[in-house]
Symmetry: C2
Subunit: 460 residues, 2 copies
């Protein structure tokens, strides 16, 4: 026993010495347990124990699945180390990576967007050709800091159709919808602030808020928006600064905000000085528009953001922020400071595509196809005992409950080995109470092999 | 006197009441001094005094040139309120806005980039047409999270030419060079950390670091890089976490890092655990490459970033980060969380343009034209008593001293009224000791009217 302890001490001393000699630099990875055991001629368990004590001392720190690192003046921001320690399959960043990596033969019902074949390819190609012929400034110059004026004017008219009265001067273009929310968070939040999210909500909101070092509180989602009593209670208990939501078609549930919930939510928000980000990326998927918080509120405390990645092209990066007149110039400054001017190209291509005659027909077609695939997918899932929480009026998603006793993270793991990427429920859930839910994207769920893999995995 | 005091109190009470009644919401602008004086039937000086007392109470806060705002739970991040209070003309954000706003007839020797007519317009048009014909995924899908592989492989080969040995797996694409630095700052810095900058340096570094709430320390720039004694003293005095610089062609001075300075700088950095961001956006302007810190260091503590906005197109947004293998995946996570996938389009267009046969010829031509314009501009400036601090070997800039007793900010103000945008020295200077310097972009300084306006302004 004494000898074991001496050997542990020997390994620790060696690591200390190498750090002091700057052989191991702050932030650098130290040798793996196995490599260290070999080089120092000790057992693996000795090194494990030594490293654990070094972690306890704060001399090194462990990163899940990535090894041990020398502590620095300050450790870098490793998002997978921030927030609750999640299973691999329900970590939001893990899901994003699975969905974003080149597909190959992989089937991706867990992916959040339309297949390439469903997107507005013809419109984007046409826009690319038009831009190739446009004036030199368009092709090589920075955009004006607030973003391409024609697209901002178009957005102003479009938002008017949702009852949101906002001049082009109060709209700023961004690199994406996520970038829009990130800029707003940088503008409004400080580390330690509290942010409300729907539970469940779009999983990347969790990843994004980790990067802002804020506290997150979830509010149970109902088919007509957040549970208003829980919402009021969360305001009273946590004094959150911001609430981030989708009102139109909720991700992942497909719920639509009702006018009554919108009204009561805004009254509560007003009384509690709560600010709201309304993420409206799914607007063009709606058959009948749901109420918009930004329309009810007149953009006093609601900031609306959106993008074109779900409808036109995700390859052409462009999003927007519509907000109060007294905030827009500060947001422009923040955009200049952190990404500089922004380009004209993406905004110009999106403007061409979305104002072309084909876009309306394209989206009509997408909505029709989604309605068909939604029914088909629901039916095929039901045959496996997987049941939608709600049949949404529109959109890409079915938020489904697994047969009793089944765990979505475990299922996702098994399915991935068979080439099927799922989106397990707890990736969307702050409270980690959606362990038996899975989000299906109906546009990515047509392939019969998905159901074969699911059936095998469920019976395993 | 008593009556004046009563009236002040009356205005203050009214503002307090309206805030309590939520007529004025947190963060909202309250009426202007003039409007309030009129509505309350008191003098302007009464309102000024009342507002100043409300500011002292912390009930409202003043924003330079923008009025008075109700204090919130926490005030939003208004970059123009962070850091030293600068004259309008030397605030880095003000200069960026002047340069980025649509030009019209305005002459912009203060602008940081080439005129549209000098950019790689033909190459970008060709690339746009090629992309318009490429496969669907290219046109409408998200990129892989780390960025378009062909461009990363190209960058790996290109960096090898500068002695930087970095596989494509250690390169991540970003939305721009500024975005690259911003992600690194988010990854490595915490509020309150200290960052070293060259004095003078690219003014947007100042704006960017305001957004990170860090302390900035400037180190005097010499014609061969930073003053090494001052650099060592700054390390000892401030224990900075990070140093941000351009080694190739320094902005704004045109200086080039010498091998000796690079070596000594890296030894100091190693001893002090200092990390370094090397911004290499001007690489393709060099006739003979200067030493790269990333090459000397092997990317242990140096992170290299770059973009194509200065050489190919600023309209097509794309930058990169080359860094240590154990940091790249955390940076990818941070990119996903804050901007999601990134697009394929921009990277594909840049890849097409930069690997086309025309690019090398294009840059040879640009370098030749710059050499001619550099001499011409220097001569025309000297005739006005404006003298370059250094005749740079390459690049866009001449960092020039005004005739004795002349103030660059005042000059910039007068010239702007005549339609000429200048870049006054203190916008680049942490110590605010460059009040008699101006940066000229030789590619934007051909027009004779610039010198007429300058001559008039200098004689005013």
């Amino acid at each position: 026993m004494k000898e074991h302890s001496t050997r542990i001490r020997k390994v620790m001393t060696e690591v200390h010495a190498r750090i002091a000699a700057r052989t191991y630099l702050p932030g650098a990875r130290i040798p793996s347990v196995r490599a260290m055991a070999q080089s120092m001629q000790v057992s693996v368990s000795t090194v494990v124990e030594a490293y654990e004590r070094l972690v306890a001392e704060g001399v090194v720190h462990a990163r899940r699945g990535a090894g041990f690192y020398v502590a620095g003046v300050a450790a870098p921001l490793v998002l997978t180390e921030v927030g609750p320690k999640l299973e691999h399959e329900v970590d939001p960043l893990w899901i994003s990576r699975q969905a974003l990596e080149p597909a190959g033969a992989t089937l991706k019902p867990g992916c959040g967007w339309l297949p390439a074949q469903w997107m507005f390819e013809a419109g984007v190609r046409k826009a690319l050709r038009a831009t190739a012929r446009s004036q030199a400034e368009q092709v090589v110059e920075y955009a004006s800091p607030q973003g391409h004026p024609p697209l901002r004017h178009f957005l102003s008219r479009r938002l008017a159709g949702f009852g949101i009265d906002v001049p082009a001067e109060q709209i700023m273009l961004t690199e994406s919808g996520t970038h829009a929310i990130d800029l707003i968070c940088r503008f409004l939040l400080q580390p330690g602030d509290t942010v409300l999210l729907d539970d469940p909500c779009y999983f990347n909101f969790h990843a994004l808020l980790r990067a802002h070092s804020v506290n997150v509180v979830g509010v149970r989602q109902t088919p007509t928006g957040p549970d208003i009593e829980a919402f009021g209670a969360a305001l009273a208990a946590h004094s959150p600064r911001l609430y981030i939501t989708n009102s139109g078609i909720h991700n992942p549930t497909g719920a639509s905000l009702s006018p009554g919930t919108a009204h009561r939510l805004l009254k509560l928000a007003e009384a509690a000085s709560l600010l709201i980000v309304e993420d409206d990326v799914f607007a063009d998927f709606e058959h009948t528009p749901a109420p918009r918080l930004a329309a009810f509120d007149g953009l006093a405390r609601v900031i609306q953001i959106g993008s074109f990645s779900k409808t036109v092209s995700a390859s052409v990066r462009c999003g927007y922020i519509a907000t109060r007149h007294d905030w827009i110039q500060s947001l422009v400054d923040l955009k200049i400071a952190t990404t500089f001017g922004g380009g004209r190209l993406a905004a110009d291509i999106i403007h061409h595509a979305i104002t072309g005659s084909g876009y309306r027909r394209h989206m009509e077609n997408v909505r029709m196809r989604l309605a068909i695939e939604r029914d088909r997918t629901a039916e095929k899932l039901k045959a496996l005992g997987i049941v939608p929480w709600l049949m949404p009026q529109a959109g890409l998603y079915l938020w489904c409950r697994l047969p009793q006793g089944k765990d979505a993270a475990a299922l996702a793991k098994v399915c991935l080995d068979d080439g099927v990427v799922l989106a397990p429920g707890n990736a969307f859930s702050q409270s980690q109470t959606a362990g038996d839910y899975v989000r299906f994207n109906v546009a990515q769920s047509a392939d019969a092999r998905i159901y074969e893999v699911l059936a095998r995995a469920l019976n395993a």
